[in-house]
C-alpha cells in the first residue's frame, strides 16, 4: 500500500530517475570543470559560503502549533529567501516538524489570496480595498440598523498574535455584541 502511495506522490520522477539525477548532481559538485549549459555556471567559493549576500537573519516563532519552536528566517532585499532551524532555542533546540520546516513555502504559497474579492452573480470578481471596505461597512451598518448589533457573529483566530486577539475582542465589544468566538471551542 505504501508503495502504491509513493508512486502516486511522484508521478513524473520515479525512484530510478531520481537517483540518476542525484548522481549527476554529485558529479557536478566533484568536478566543477564539466561543461555546463550556457545559462548555468559553477558557484564561486564566496557564493557557496554566502549565497545571499547582505541578507539578515530574523529570529521568529513558528506559526503552526503551540509548542512554540524558534525559527530563523533569512531575508534579502525584503524577500524571505531561506529558513533555518534555531539550534539555540530553549524549546525546540533545533528541531522542527514537517509543518514547521515548511513555513517559508506555506507563506509564499501560490494559492495565497492576493487581493480583495467579492462574489457577484455567482462569479468571483477582483475588487480594490476601498470598494471592499465601502461595501462591507455599508452592509454591516444597514443590517445593524434593522436588527441591532447582535445581527453579527465575529469569529476570531488562534493565529492572531496576542495583541490582535485582544483588539479583536475589543472590536466586538465596541460593535456591541458578545457574538464572538474562536477555535478554543473546538
Amino acid at each position: 500500500m505504501i508503495e502504491k502511495m509513493r508512486d502516486k506522490m511522484t508521478p513524473r520522477i520515479g525512484r530510478r530517475s531520481f537517483l540518476k539525477m542525484a548522481a549527476v548532481g554529485a558529479g557536478v559538485g566533484a568536478a566543477a570543470s564539466l561543461p555546463l549549459g550556457r545559462s548555468l555556471r559553477a558557484a564561486t567559493a564566496a557564493e557557496v559560503k554566502e549565497p545571499f549576500p547582505g541578507s539578515k537573519r530574523v529570529k521568529t516563532i513558528c506559526s503552526i502549533c503551540s509548542a512554540g519552536c524558534g525559527m530563523i528566517a533569512e531575508v534579502q532585499n525584503g524577500v524571505w529567501v531561506r529558513q533555518d532551524v534555531a539550534q539555540d532555542h530553549p524549546i525546540s533546540e533545533g528541531s522542527h516538524c514537517c509543518k514547521g520546516i515548511d513555513q517559508i513555502d506555506l507563506i509564499k504559497s501560490k494559492q495565497r489570496l492576493k487581493f480583495p474579492m467579492k462574489k457577484e452573480n455567482g462569479q468571483w470578481k477582483r475588487i480594490g480595498w476601498d470598494q471592499a471596505v465601502d461595501e462591507i461597512s455599508g452592509k454591516m451598518l444597514a443590517l445593524r440598523k434593522e436588527n441591532g448589533p447582535d445581527m453579527a457573529m465575529f469569529l476570531g483566530s488562534a493565529k492572531f498574535n496576542l495583541q490582535q486577539a485582544y483588539y479583536f475582542r475589543k472590536f466586538a465589544a465596541m460593535w456591541g455584541t458578545n457574538n464572538i468566538d474562536h477555535v478554543a471551542r473546538i
Binding site: 467579492k118 462591507i136 495583541q163 479583536f168 478554543a184
Partner: protein, 743 residues
C-alpha cells in the same frame, strides 16, 4: 499547561497521555516525551481509541472505548483509594470535596471499569499501581479529552487524579495540556470568546466597568453600543452553534437572528455539523472572510452574492507576541512586509473601526499609561504592537500579565540562547528570569512562573498556592489552604484569601496611606494603580490568595464528574445506567439536546461502527494552510478512513475502495477505505483536516481561480454526530457512530 515540556524531560517518571497524539499533532512536544524516556527511563502510558503513532512509542497502551474517559479515571482512583495510595496529606491540606470523589470512585471496580471502557481489568490495576508508586507523574491531554458532550467532566477528572496522587505544583507532575494552534493559548487568554472579556473577567457589570475604564471610554457609551444592557451581560452565540442563530431550528434567545458572519482567521470546515453550516452560510445576508488563504467557508456555500474575501497577512508579515502552550510569551519578529495586497489583521480592524465610527475609542487606551497611580492620556500617537502590548500588561491582572512589556519580551527573544531548556531558567544577563515569563508574571520585575501551584518556591520567584476564587467557605468548610501550607518566604503563614481593598490591611498587616486608599481599585483584579500587586509581592503573597483546589463544582450539573454514555452510544445497555444530561435550555443563546437525542432511537442498530477523528502529521486545523503546500499535501493526497480489514471485508471493501459513511443526522461522506491495524473492527478513524468535497460533490468550481489547494476532500465534520458539551458547548467530535456502505 501547569508545567512545561522541559520540566517533563527533567523530572517526569511517568507520562500519562490520554486523548492526545503528539507524534502527529505536536511532534516537538513528542520529542520531549521521548527524551524523558531516554534520559529518565520515564514510562510512557498512552490511552487512545486508536493505536496512534504516539501509542507506538508507549510502554503501556490502553485502547479505550470512545467517550469513557471519566469511567477510566474513576477506575484508576478506585484502585488507588482501595489500597490507601492517595496522597492523604496533600488532600487534607490543599483540596476541598475529595470525600465525594472517593465515594464515586469506590463504585468503579476494575471489572465495571473494564466493561464500560473496554480496557482489561488487570491493565487498569497495573496502571493504577504504576501511577501510585512512581512519582512524579505528569498527565497530558489534548482534544481527545475536551471534544465530547462530557468534555468538561473529562477535563476535571484528570486534574482530580493528579490531586489524589499529590502531583500538582511539583516538578515533573502537573497537567500538561497541549493546545492546538500557535497562539490558541493567547487568543483564549484574550478571550475571543462569547462568555468572557479578555483575561477571563466574565461579562458581569463590574467587569464591563473595569474594561470601560481600562479602554479610556465612558461606560454608558459602551453600554449604549449593545442592543440592550441585558445583552451586554449575556453570553453570545458560540463557534459551535452560531449557525442556529441563522437557521433558528432549535429555540434561540437573542435580540436578533445572526445575519452577518465575519470570520477572521478561523477555519470553518474544522467545525462539526458541516451541512448545517452550509445551510447557514447560504442563508446569511452577508459573509466576510478575512484570511491569508481562501477560507473554505467560501467554497462550502453555494451563495451567489454578498460574500467578500479580504487578504490578511500571515504572522510573518507582522510583529507581536505569541503565547506557547506552557504560558510562555515569545516575541515574533516581522520577517517581510505583507505580501501581495494583503493587510495585517489589526490594520483591517482599524479600517473598519473607523467606518463603524468607534476608531477613537478603540485606539485610545494605546495612548494612555498609568502615571501617578492613575490611568491617563500620555501621548498623541500610538505605536503598534508595543502600545497594545503595554495596554494588555497593565489591564490583565487575573492571570498576571503585568510583566509582559514589549521591552522584556524582545530581550527574551534576543537572548533565547541564555535559557536552560530543562528549567527555562535564565543564565548570564537573563539570570533570575524564566524564558518567556510564563504567566503569572505579576509585574515588571517578576520572573514568570514555570510550574503553577508550587508552594515551595517564593511568589517572587514563581511560586504560589491554588487560587481563592469561589468564596471563603462552602457548606461550612474553609476554602483556604490549611495553616500548614505556607508559600515559601511568605509573610503570611498558611492559606489566605484573595486580596481586596477591604482586606489588604488586615491580611498583610499593613497600614495604607489616605492617598493609596483613594487610588486603589476594589480588588486585585481591577486595581489599575498597581498598589495591591506591589504590597502583595513585597509580602511574598500571591494577590489571588492561597486556597484549596475544589474538586466539587457546586454550580455545575455534575458537581463531581460523572460518567455519562456518549449521546450516540455504542452500548445501549449502558445508556439506561449512565444516561446523558437532561436537554439544556439556552446555553450560548440556543437550546441543546442531550438525553432526548440519546434515547430517540437505539442508534447503534442502524449505525453500528464507532467514529473517531484523528490527526495526521502533515496537516493541522482545517488543513487549508498545509494543503496549499506541495510537499505537505502530497503526504496525504486524498481523504481516507482507517479501517480494519475484518470490518472492511464485511462490506466487501478492499484496500483502496471507496465507501460511503452515513451519520445519524442523515449526512454522508464518500471516502477511501485505507486498511489499517491501528483501529479495531468496531471503529474507524478519520483525519479531520479536509474540505472541498461535500457529500460526494466536488466543490472545486467554488474556489476563486488559482486558490484551490493541492488536495481537497470530504470533511469528516460533515458526519461528526450531533452533540455538545453542557458547559463549554464544544462539539462532540470523538464519540459518534456511523454506517458503512460500499460506494
Amino acid at each position: 499547561m501547569t508545567n512545561h515540556f522541559g520540566d517533563v524531560v527533567g523530572h517526569s517518571k511517568v507520562i500519562f497521555i490520554i486523548g492526545a497524539n503528539s507524534a502527529a499533532a505536536n511532534p516537538i512536544g513528542m520529542k520531549h516525551f521521548l527524551q524523558a524516556k531516554d534520559r529518565n527511563n520515564a514510562q510512557l502510558i498512552v490511552v487512545d481509541p486508536v493505536f496512534t503513532k504516539t501509542a507506538a512509542k508507549a510502554d503501556h497502551f490502553l485502547r479505550i472505548r470512545t467517550g469513557t474517559d471519566v469511567a477510566l479515571v474513576y477506575g484508576l482512583m478506585h484502585v488507588i483509594f482501595k489500597n490507601g495510595w492517595e496522597d492523604k496529606e496533600f488532600i487534607k491540606t490543599r483540596v476541598y470535596g475529595m470525600d465525594e470523589i472517593k465515594a464515586e470512585a469506590m463504585k468503579w471496580t476494575p471489572e465495571l471499569t473494564a466493561d464500560v471502557t473496554g480496557i482489561p481489568a488487570e491493565q487498569i490495576v497495573q496502571i493504577a499501581t504504576i501511577l501510585a508508586k512512581t512519582k512524579p507523574a505528569t498527565v497530558v491531554w489534548a482534544l481527545g479529552i475536551t471534544q465530547h458532550s462530557t468534555g468538561t467532566s473529562n477535563t476535571r477528572i484528570l486534574p482530580i487524579l493528579q490531586l489524589v496522587l499529590g502531583n500538582m505544583g511539583k516538578n515533573g507532575g502537573g497537567c500538561n495540556i497541549i493546545r492546538g494552534h500557535d497562539n490558541v493559548q493567547g487568543s483564549t487568554d484574550m478571550c475571543c470568546l462569547a462568555d468572557s472579556l479578555s483575561g477571563y473577567y466574565g461579562l458581569a457589570e463590574g467587569s464591563w466597568k473595569y474594561f470601560a475604564k481600562s479602554w479610556g471610554v465612558d461606560y454608558e457609551w459602551l453600554k449604549g453600543r449593545f442592543a440592550a444592557p441585558e445583552w451586554m451581560q449575556a453570553k453570545g452565540f458560540s463557534l459551535a452553534k452560531w449557525w442556529q442563530g441563522v437557521l433558528q431550528e432549535e429555540t434561540t434567545y437573542s435580540s436578533s437572528p445572526v445575519r452577518a458572519l465575519w470570520v477572521q482567521g478561523n477555519g470553518i470546515t474544522s467545525m462539526s455539523q458541516q451541512v448545517k453550516i452550509q445551510e447557514a452560510l447560504d442563508k446569511l445576508d452577508l459573509v466576510v472572510l478575512v484570511d491569508p488563504f481562501v477560507n473554505e467557508a467560501a467554497v462550502l456555500t453555494n451563495r451567489k452574492d454578498d460574500m467578500y474575501l479580504l487578504p490578511a497577512a500571515t504572522q510573518f508579515e507582522t510583529e507581536g507576541s505569541v503565547t506557547a502552550t506552557n504560558r510562555t510569551s515569545q516575541w515574533r519578529s516581522k520577517v517581510v512586509d505583507p505580501l501581495y495586497e494583503s493587510k495585517t489583521d489589526h490594520d483591517i480592524m482599524f479600517l473598519f473601526a473607523e467606518r463603524f465610527g468607534f476608531y477613537d475609542e478603540y485606539t485610545r487606551a494605546m495612548k494612555m499609561a498609568v502615571k501617578d497611580r492613575e490611568l491617563q492620556p500620555v501621548k498623541e500617537e500610538f505605536v503598534w504592537p508595543d502600545d497594545a502590548c503595554r495596554e494588555i500588561a497593565r489591564t490583565i491582572k487575573t492571570i498576571g500579565l503585568g510583566g509582559w512589556t514589549p521591552e522584556r519580551l524582545r530581550k527574551h527573544q534576543e537572548n533565547w540562547h541564555m535559557f536552560d531548556p530543562l528549567t527555562l531558567e535564565g543564565k548570564g544577563p537573563m539570570k533570575g528570569e524564566y524564558y518567556g515569563l510564563p504567566w503569572p508574571s505579576w509585574d515588571e520585575n517578576h520572573p514568570g512562573s514555570p510550574v503553577l501551584y508550587d508552594v515551595n518556591t517564593p511568589v517572587t520567584a514563581g511560586g504560589m498556592g491554588f487560587r481563592n476564587r469561589f468564596g471563603l467557605e462552602h457548606d461550612g468548610v474553609s476554602q483556604l489552604a490549611d495553616p500548614s501550607v505556607s508559600v515559601k518566604d511568605s509573610k503570611i503563614a498558611g492559606g489566605y484569601p484573595e486580596i481586596t481593598k477591604d482586606n489588604i490591611e488586615q491580611v498583610l498587616g499593613i497600614t495604607l496611606t489616605a492617598a493609596e486608599k483613594e487610588k486603589m481599585g476594589a480588588n486585585w483584579k481591577v486595581d489599575l494603580s498597581g498598589i495591591i500587586n506591589e504590597k502583595c509581592l513585597a509580602a511574598g503573597v500571591a494577590p489571588y490568595g492561597n486556597a484549596r483546589a475544589r474538586v466539587k463544582v457546586w454550580q455545575f450539573p455534575d458537581p463531581i464528574p460523572k460518567h455519562r454514555e456518549p449521546i450516540h452510544s455504542s452500548r445501549p445497555d449502558l445508556v439506561e445506567r449512565f444516561p446523558s444530561y437532561d436537554d439544556q435550555k439556552n446555553n450560548f443563546r440556543v437550546d441543546v439536546k442531550f438525553v432526548s437525542e440519546q434515547k430517540a432511537q437505539e442508534w447503534v442498530k442502524d449505525f453500528p461502527t464507532m467514529l473517531v477523528s484523528m490527526r495526521v502529521v502533515n496537516l493541522s486545523g482545517a488543513g487549508m494552510l498545509e494543503r496549499t503546500s506541495k510537499y505537505l499535501s502530497h503526504l496525504t493526497p486524498e481523504m481516507f478512513a482507517n479501517i480494519h480489514p475484518d470490518l472492511a471485508l464485511q462490506y466487501g471493501l478492499r484496500d483502496g475502495d471507496m465507501m460511503w459513511l452515513h451519520a445519524p443526522q442523515g449526512t454522508k461522506i464518500r471516502v477511501k477505505a485505507q486498511y489499517s491495524l491501528t483501529v479495531t473492527p468496531d471503529r474507524i478513524a478519520l483525519p479531520y483536516n479536509f474540505a472541498g468535497v461535500m457529500q460526494g460533490v466536488d466543490l472545486s468550481d467554488n474556489y476563486p481561480e488559482g486558490t484551490k489547494p493541492y488536495t481537497i476532500g470530504e470533511s469528516s465534520n460533515t458526519i461528526t454526530n450531533y452533540g455538545f458539551d453542557i458547559i463549554t458547548q464544544i462539539p462532540e467530535y470523538n464519540a459518534g457512530l456511523c454506517r458503512i456502505e460500499k460506494a
